[in-house]
Amino acid sequence: MNMNKKILIIDDDDDIREATQICLELVGDWNISTASSGKEGLVEAIAQQPDLILLDVMMPDMDGLETFTELQANSVTRPIPVILLTAKAQPAELRQFTQLEVSDIITKPYDPFDLSDRIAKVLG
């Protein structure tokens, strides 16, 4: 059902990237690719043009918000829906994220099935 859908996971945490990739591949049967930093994610997004990007917020060098800005600044990546994955769960922080034109905001630690459902919802 989602065989052709490509999802790019951008997260600096290796375990999260790997566990999430395994989960999504098993639950959603999506085509998963990953990037361990914002810069790497931008490159991958432009190169692969995924159907959806799961973007971690807190990353060194270029964090998720900067990466999102860059994605939005690029006409190739701007249409790609982005779901923010964040370990920041303070209300003020969440309010800040809602200002962004992202498809969804999911706080860590998330349930892999819930994540899958919300991805599916975004992908339509």
Binding site: D12, D13, D14, D15, I16, E18, A19, T20, I22, C23, L26, V27, S36, M58, M59, P60, A87, K88, A89, Q90, A92, E93, T107, K108, P109, Y110, D111, P112, F113
Partner: protein, 808 residues
């Protein structure tokens, strides 16, 4: 009768010479004394010697015409003595006494010739007129044993004082010369009597004056006791047996006063109710005084009762039980006002009179000459002694003194009473004043205490206001400052006087944090002034003098008095630092949250999937998910341990258990711990132990060194060397851990010791750290009183240093 005997010239001359000497001697003797008895004795002795008769006597008349022989020279062989005998008035009839007085008639009786010679001295007659003697007179003289008599009157100040009488038992002719000589002696006797009387009068006067002085001295001392003494002195002076002074009450409030001395009458029953009153208060007293008192032209009216039975009946009753027989009462008058009565009482006396015969005026034989002069003793017992004019005069004088004294005494009493009243009023007033004074003192004391309390409170308030860290200012109803504390001025960057009486809204909070100006009416403080509401404002900014602003929170509170709201107090606090701290807290929580959620994300994802039927438990993916879950569980445990450890050290809840250890042992023990890790990382460790005793918590210093060495190993490329050294520098030991790693950017050299401040966040996963190791190291070193820092060169490596005091 003519002188029928003429003596010869020679004899006459001799006689005259003898008479002259006699007269001179007689007069000389008379004048030698002023005492009447001596004078009279000398007179009769000299006259008898001169006349050579059997008896010469001096007869003194009493007031009633009777008389007494008061001096006598007698030849007792011839004639009996008549000295001391009284003769009734009838013996010398009043007509004869008148002749003696008016004519100064001298008589010479010669019984033998039955002739009486009479010669008037007043008419300067020298001749003696003889005529037949009255037979009765002759019989009288014969009965007395006298054949010849010579009588010459003795006058005293136009008053027939007495007679100088010569009796002879034989017939004898008295010559004219003898008569003249005797007359001269009688005249001298009159003078002597007058002088003696004068002396006596003077003596009496002196005694009276002495009495008056004594009484006056007592009276004018103005005390009750001496009024009593004056009364006693008066009684004594007037030879009374008792006396009393009755002082009439002067007004309705006062009572009568009675002073008594000696014998007294009893009180008189006034009415049937058996009450008794002093005699002076009885109506009969006034009646008696009105009837008998001598009031004409006398200052002190007086009354006497020489016999008690002459008193009104009620008064007589009062005196009857006593021995009092006569009364002298002086009405004490001063300034036409009767003040009281001074009464002197006398007892009766026994009067013994020796008569030349027993008088019996009813005996018809009295019409005949007496045939016997046999003495008869008459004794009158308990007879009243009459008051003399002198005594009455003395009593009046003393009465005047009493009246003056009583008046003064009453004035004194009035003054005394006034003084007492005044003193009482003064005492009462003084007591009132003292009470008022005490109240005032207490009030003043209370006020002083209150003032002191107020000053203390004011001082305390001032201290509180001055010491308060918060800014405090007061506003009146217009929003102008009434006071500003130093903290407010300092926070706002003003001097206090620059803010006094200024509208604070225009100075400090005229705009929002966004710079939007708002009106005074929109200011919450204005609302407080208008409504009395207390407003707590936590998101506001105040503006400083330099036009910078700072976040504040403030509370505006109304100042209320009875009349209502009179102002407001604003207490504000610069919350810049608190906001920073809050932000840091939020950031920390955010970081911790992130650090905890990150491993949990892997754990939850892995376990959730493993617990579902979507993955084959035997597959490699399943195995990998388990490993991921386990690794992140360990990571989570380390993280939680480090967080708790760091917080306990920082908060002081972990006590450094210090003891003396050798630094070299600690260094080598640490190297042993990380040795396997170094081997695994293909890194060499060199150590240069410093043998020195240090005062430390051994386990915590090993924890610090382990952290630093493991970090150095983690970030060292393979086949490089990590070194641990220590050296003494001053009183500190400096440890250093050196690696050949990638180095630390300069901007991280300070923050690297903060929590979760790794140079690269992925380091915590890649290198197995929690991001709290260096923060823990810094806390441990600081708890030991040391410092920690890092020196680093990018691409060449880093050297971490920390110091520990040798002494601990």
């Amino acid at each position: 009768m003519k002188d029928n005997k003429i003596t010869g010239d020679r004899t006459k001359n001799k006689e005259l010479d003898s008479w002259g000497r006699l007269l001179h001697r007689t007069i000389d003797r008379i004048r030698q004394s002023l005492e009447l008895s001596v004078i009279l004795s000398a007179t009769v002795a000299e006259v008898r010697a001169f006349l050579n008769t059997d008896r010469v006597k001096i007869y003194q008349f009493d007031e009633d015409g009777s008389g007494e022989v008061v001096a006598e020279s007698v030849n007792l062989d011839k004639l009996p003595s008549l000295l001391g005998q009284h003769f009734p008035a009838e013996d010398i009839p009043e007509s004869m006494r008148e002749l003696y007085l008016q004519e100064r008639q001298r008589t010479i009786v010669n019984i033998a010739s039955r002739q009486i010679g009479m010669s008037s001295s007043a008419k300067k007659e020298t001749d003696i007129e003889f005529r037949p003697v009255d037979p009765c007179h002759a019989e009288y003289l014969i009965a007395m044993g006298t054949q010849s008599s010579l009588v010459v009157p003795i006058l005293d100040n136009h008053h027939l004082w007495g007679l100088l009488v010569s009796h002879h038992s034989l017939p004898r002719i008295v010559t004219k010369q003898e008569l003249e000589i005797v007359q001269l002696v009688a005249d001298q006797t009159s003078i002597a009597i007058a002088q003696s009387n004068l002396l006596e009068s003077t003596r009496t006067q002196a005694q009276q004056e002495a009495s008056i002085n004594r009484v006056g001295k007592s009276l004018h001392s103005m005390t009750e006791i001496e009024l009593q003494q004056a009364l006693q002195q008066t009684v004594t002076a007037l030879q009374g047996s008792g006396g009393r002074v009755y002082i009439i009450p002067q007004n309705a409030d006062s009572t009568a006063q009675l002073y008594v001395s000696g014998e007294q009458p009893v009180s008189i029953p006034e009415t049937a109710d058996r009450t008794t009153i002093p005699i002076e208060e009885h109506p009969d007293w006034q009646t008696w005084l009105e009837n008998t008192a001598q009031t004409h032209r006398v200052i002190q009216p007086w009354a006497i009762a020489n016999e008690i039975n002459s008193l009104p009946p009620n008064l007589e009753l009062a005196f009857k039980p006593s021995q009092i027989k006569s009364i002298l009462t002086i009405q004490l008058v001063y300034r036409q006002k009767t003040l009281g009565y001074l009464s002197i009482f006398r007892q009766g006396i026994d009067v013994e009179t020796i008569w030349a015969k027993r008088p019996d005026r009813d005996d018809p034989r009295n019409l005949f000459p007496r045939r016997s002069f046999e003495t008869w003793r008459e004794l009158q017992q308990n007879k009243a002694r009459p008051w003399t004019d002198s005594e009455i005069e003395l009593a009046q004088t003393l009465g005047s003194h009493f009246a003056i004294a009583i008046d003064r005494y009453q004035l004194y009493q009035q003054v005394h009473n006034l003084n007492l009243s005044l003193e009482r009023r003064v005492q009462e007033r003084t007591a009132q004043l003292q009470e008022t004074n005490q109240k005032l003192v207490k009030e003043i004391s209370d006020r002083l205490k209150t003032r002191a309390s107020l000053e203390r409170l004011s001082h305390q308030n001032e201290l509180i206001l001055n010491s308060a860290g918060e800014g405090i200012y007061g506003l009146d109803m217009t929003g102008k400052t009434t006071f500003v504390n130093p903290a407010a001025a300092e926070i706002l960057g003003y001097e206090i006087n620059e803010l006094q009486s200024q509208p604070m809204h225009e100075i400090v909070n005229h705009s929002t944090a966004e710079g939007v100006v708002y009106s005074w009416q929109d200011n919450p403080i204005y609302q407080t002034l208008q409504t009395g509401e207390v407003n707590y404002i936590s998101h506001e900014i105040f503006w400083r003098k330099d036009r910078s602003s700072f976040p504040v929170e403030y509370v505006s509170t109304p100042i209320k008095e009875k009349a209502g709201i009179v102002g407001a107090v604003v207490i504000f606090k610069d919350i810049t630092e608190r906001q920073i701290i809050d932000r840091m807290k939020d950031e920390f929580i955010s970081v911790v949250s992130h650090e905890l959620r990150t491993p949990l994300t892997s754990i939850r994802s892995s376990i959730t999937l493993l617990s579902s039927d979507r993955v084959d438990p035997q597959s490699s993916k399943s195995q990998r998910l388990l490993e991921i879950a386990l690794d992140n569980s360990n990571r989570l445990v380390r993280l939680i341990n480090d967080i708790l450890d760091l917080e306990r050290i920082k908060s002081g809840k972990v006590t450094m258990v210090k003891a003396s250890y050798n630094a070299s042992n600690i260094m080598t023990d640490t190297v042993e711990i990380v040795h396997s890790m170094a081997d695994k990382a293909q890194t060499d460790i060199t150590v240069k132990p410093l043998s020195l005793q240090i005062w430390v918590d051994r386990d915590r210093i090993i924890q610090t060194l382990t952290n630093l060495l493991s970090n150095a190993i983690k970030f060292s490329p393979p086949n490089t060397t990590v070194s641990l050294e220590a050296h003494l520098q001053g009183d500190e030991v400096v440890f250093q851990v050196k690696d050949r790693g990638r180095g630390i950017p300069p901007e991280h050299l300070e923050t690297i010791f903060d929590r979760f401040q790794q140079v690269d966040a992925s380091d915590s996963r890649d290198r197995g750290g929690t991001g709290l190791g260096l923060a823990i190291c810094r806390s441990i070193v600081q708890q030991h009183g040391g410092q920690i820092w890092v020196e680093s060169t990018l691409g060449q490596g880093s050297t971490f240093y920390f110091t520990l005091p040798v002494s601990g």
